[in-house]
Structures are given as structure tokens and as C-alpha cells.
């Protein structure tokens, strides 16, 4: 497989804020990977949604900027009304290209761009959501040998997005939010032990 995990990317839509409130606090301080969140939000909600997690997270939160540095141990949010892309493994890029799946940011767009730079070192996570965005992106991560994680549709506030992903690929892990949190928290460690 890979030389180890390099980044976590999470896609979510309807119900996403509540789901992230459960998931993000489970990641420990000093987490060794960058965590990138692509959530469908209203274009005018300029980073305000992020504040909801601020006091419950161990990790510092930031809105991704164009040509901004991708740092381990941070949670980066895609800014509303932009597509979030990856110029290389340490640099974000933004675009205002047309919406994909009626969304900007589109999860498919970000996942595909992320796998182009992180390859098999990418961990892709699909959480609750009300449309099909992200399914194709997760399939690309799967095809390149990355790790795929999908929230168990039975536990999702809106099961449509996890189901759409599972229709395309058999994810490596199908779990509740709490278990996804535990898995993500433990993954980098198991990787180091294995080496």
C-alpha cells in the first residue's frame, strides 16, 4: 500500500453540522494529519458555521485560503461558494468554476483533486447528506488505493449521501459517527506501529 496516511478529507451536506459536532471532538490534540472538511453551506455563511465547533475541538480550525499551506493537526473547512482544490500535498487552491452536483464546494471535486496529490495516502469520509455529491469522489479514492469510510446510513440524519456512496463501492469501513471518530484517531498510530 502506501507510505502511510497523509490526509483525511470529510464530505457532508444536510445534517453535517450536527455530525461534525460529534466527530471532530474525537480527534486528539496534535493529530498527525491534516483534516479537510467539505460541507455544503449557504454561500453567505462565510466561516460562521465553523465557530460552532470551536470550543469542543482539540484541533485548531481554519477556513482554507487560496495558496494556503496545508498543515497537519488542523481542521480546514472549504470556504462557501468556492471549490476547494489541491495544488500539491502542501498547498490549497480555490476555484469559482460552475457548481457540480448543484454544489460549490462540491465534494466530488475536492475528493478527486485530493486523491490526485495524496494518492493512496488519502482517507476519504462520507457523512450524512441529502444528495449524491461525494459518491464519485469516494470511488476515485477507492480506485487509487486510499481508505474509504462511510457513515452507516442507519445512523445518519440524512442517509441519502452515505447510501449513494455505498452503491458505488464497498467502503472499507461503514460505521457510526463515534466509531468513525475512534477509527480516525487510531489510524495514524496503527500505521506507525505497522512500519
Amino acid at each position: 500500500m502506501s507510505d502511510g496516511y497523509r490526509a483525511v478529507i470529510i464530505g457532508t451536506s444536510a445534517g453535517g453540522t450536527a455530525a461534525l459536532k460529534v466527530l471532530l471532538p474525537l480527534l486528539p490534540a496534535g493529530y498527525p494529519l491534516p483534516v479537510i472538511v467539505v460541507q455544503h453551506l449557504h454561500p453567505l455563511q462565510n466561516g460562521a458555521g465553523m465557530l460552532q465547533f470551536k470550543y469542543s475541538c482539540y484541533l485548531p480550525l481554519a477556513v482554507a485560503e487560496d495558496k494556503g499551506v496545508i498543515k497537519a493537526g488542523y481542521v480546514f473547512f472549504a470556504p462557501p461558494n468556492y471549490h476547494l482544490l489541491f495544488e500539491d500535498a502542501s498547498t490549497f487552491a480555490l476555484s469559482v468554476d460552475e457548481k457540480v452536483n448543484f454544489a460549490r464546494p462540491s465534494i466530488d471535486v475536492s475528493f478527486k483533486s485530493a486523491v490526485a496529490v495524496f494518492g493512496a495516502g488519502l482517507i476519504g469520509v462520507i457523512l450524512t447528506g441529502g444528495n449524491r455529491d461525494g459518491a464519485q469522489g469516494l470511488q476515485c479514492i477507492h480506485a487509487r488505493g486510499g481508505l474509504t469510510v462511510v457513515q452507516d446510513p442507519k445512523t445518519a440524519e440524512s442517509p441519502y449521501m452515505p447510501r449513494a456512496a455505498l452503491e458505488r463501492i464497498p467502503a472499507d469501513h461503514v460505521l457510526s459517527l463515534n466509531d468513525i471518530g475512534r477509527l480516525l484517531a487510531a489510524l495514524p498510530e496503527t500505521e506507525i506501529n505497522a512500519e
Binding site: E65, E87, A93, L94, S95, V96
Partner: protein, 273 residues
């Protein structure tokens, strides 16, 4: 694998440049990759190298490819807070000049140009302003000049116009037809639409205000720096440069040459020497 992809992209961009003179070699790779994917899908090419003979020998395809690389997605009053800041902070400053020159660099289909023209009209300074709206995509530029937009998208802009502090009804600024809206010709009176390529063309005038929003995000760091020097050289001292709300001058070569005027809205002012 990733090294091969880089070589293929380089070769494709080199082919366009040497054959047609359009220089995309320093465009941000993240977006280039997306565009090439789309071109491959459209043409049925299985790899990026397969696009090279197409672009060299088929001029129609080359035209499509070149347009594919130019950004044509804009909205009116995108980021209403930005337009409010122009209205309440930038214009009072610029209004002290006897006349103003404004450059909308990379105007695409013109939505931003009309948004700004509306603000200047409402603030009573339109008549002493000259606008230069430029793009390298002639097709987009023609659309900008025509000022005709789909009616449903115009309706979507109405709340943004209001949030930007609009003083009238947005419908006052366009004439609605069956499916499209024609912008009020009065808005166009002081706008010059012209072809200008930020990558290859130079300074053409001394501006008081430059909008270059969400354009530099498509360039790599080197090209971004080069274009920022061009924009800097095109401004009077005390003139303003406006970027998109998620891009900045931080870590660029011109960072010291500007001072942040409204950092949240990414409005910068050119420093006196």
C-alpha cells in the same frame, strides 16, 4: 505516476503556447487538471498526451480548449459585504479625485462590471468615472458588452443587491424580456470593453481602483506575483486593489507595497513610496 502526469500537462501547455501564443504554463495545476479532464471527456481522449495532436491540428478543438482555460463564471454582487465596503469606505476616499479610472481585470461575462457600475451610479460618482473591463476571452467579452443575462440568474442576484446596500429596486437596472434580461444601457456609457491578457500584456493606464477578484486563484505563485506587479504598476499611489475574499497578498512579493485597507474584504491600498 504523478511525475508522468506533470510531464504530460507540461507538454500539452507548451503545445498550446507555441502553436497559438496563449500561455497557460503558469496556471494553477489543480484547475488545469480539472479542465484537461473535461477536454478528455469531451474528445474521448484516453490520456492528456492524446489531446496534443488534437490541439495542434484541429483549430476548432484548440479554440474550445483555450476557452475552457478562461474562467467565465461570475455573479452579480457576489460577496455583498465587499460591495458595501466599496460603497461606504472606498468610494468616499476616491470621490476626492476629480475623476476616476477603474479597471476590472479578468471581467469574464461582465457581471461584476455592472454590479460596480450600479454602485457608482447610486453613489453619484458614475459620471466622472471611466471603466475598463478586460478579459482575454473574446467570447466572454462580447457577452459582457451585450449585457444580456438569463432572467432566472438575474432574479437570484436580487437579494445580493439588497444586501450590498442597494438603494433602489434591482429591477430598475434591467429590462426583462421573455427569458433574458438586458442591462440598462446607461450603465454601459462609461465602460470600455477591451481584450487584455494579464499573462502577456502590460500596463495600459493609471487606475484609481482595480478589481481582480477570484482571477489570481487560477495562477501559480510565480504568475500570481508577476500579475500583482502589473496591477501594482497600474495603480496611482493611494489607489485600491480588490481581491477575492479568500485570496490575499500574504507571502507575495508586493505585500510590502500595499497596506490592508479592509482586510476582511481583501481591499488593499497602494503605499506611497
Amino acid at each position: 505516476m504523478q511525475e508522468n502526469e506533470r510531464i504530460e500537462i507540461d507538454l500539452f501547455l507548451e503545445a498550446i503556447f507555441r502553436r497559438y501564443g496563449y500561455d497557460f504554463r503558469h496556471y494553477a495545476r489543480a484547475s488545469v487538471r480539472r479542465r484537461l479532464e473535461r477536454l478528455m471527456m469531451r474528445s474521448g481522449a484516453a490520456s492528456i498526451v492524446e489531446l496534443i495532436p488534437l490541439v495542434l491540428h484541429d483549430e476548432l478543438f484548440a479554440q474550445t480548449a483555450i476557452y475552457e482555460f478562461s474562467i467565465t463564471v461570475t455573479e452579480m454582487f457576489r460577496d455583498p459585504d465587499f460591495y458595501s465596503a466599496v460603497r461606504s469606505k472606498v468610494l468616499p476616499y476616491l470621490a476626492t479625485y476629480p475623476f476616476m479610472r477603474i479597471w476590472i481585470a479578468g471581467c469574464a461575462t461582465g457581471e461584476e462590471v455592472y454590479s460596480l457600475a450600479i454602485i457608482l451610479q447610486e453613489e453619484g460618482v458614475y459620471d466622472r468615472t471611466t471603466f475598463f473591463a478586460t478579459d482575454f476571452n473574446d467570447q466572454a467579452l462580447q457577452q459582457a458588452q451585450d449585457g444580456i443575462y438569463p432572467l432566472n440568474s438575474i432574479r437570484d442576484y436580487t437579494p445580493n443587491y439588497q444586501l450590498a446596500g442597494g438603494r433602489n429596486s434591482f429591477a430598475d437596472y434591467y429590462h426583462a424580456g421573455y427569458q433574458s434580461a438586458v442591462m440598462d444601457p446607461g450603465l454601459k456609457a462609461h465602460i470600455t470593453f477591451a481584450n487584455h491578457n494579464l499573462v502577456t500584456d502590460g500596463v495600459f493606464g493609471e487606475m484609481h481602483l482595480i478589481l481582480c477578484r477570484n482571477v489570481l486563484i487560477y495562477f501559480d505563485k510565480e504568475l500570481k506575483n508577476r500579475v500583482l506587479h502589473l496591477l501594482h504598476d497600474s495603480l496611482v499611489y493611494g489607489g485600491f486593489l480588490c481581491l477575492g475574499t479568500r485570496e490575499s497578498l500574504q507571502f507575495t512579493e508586493v505585500q510590502e507595497a500595499f497596506k490592508p485597507f479592509d482586510i476582511k474584504q481583501r481591499v488593499y491600498q497602494k503605499q506611497n513610496r
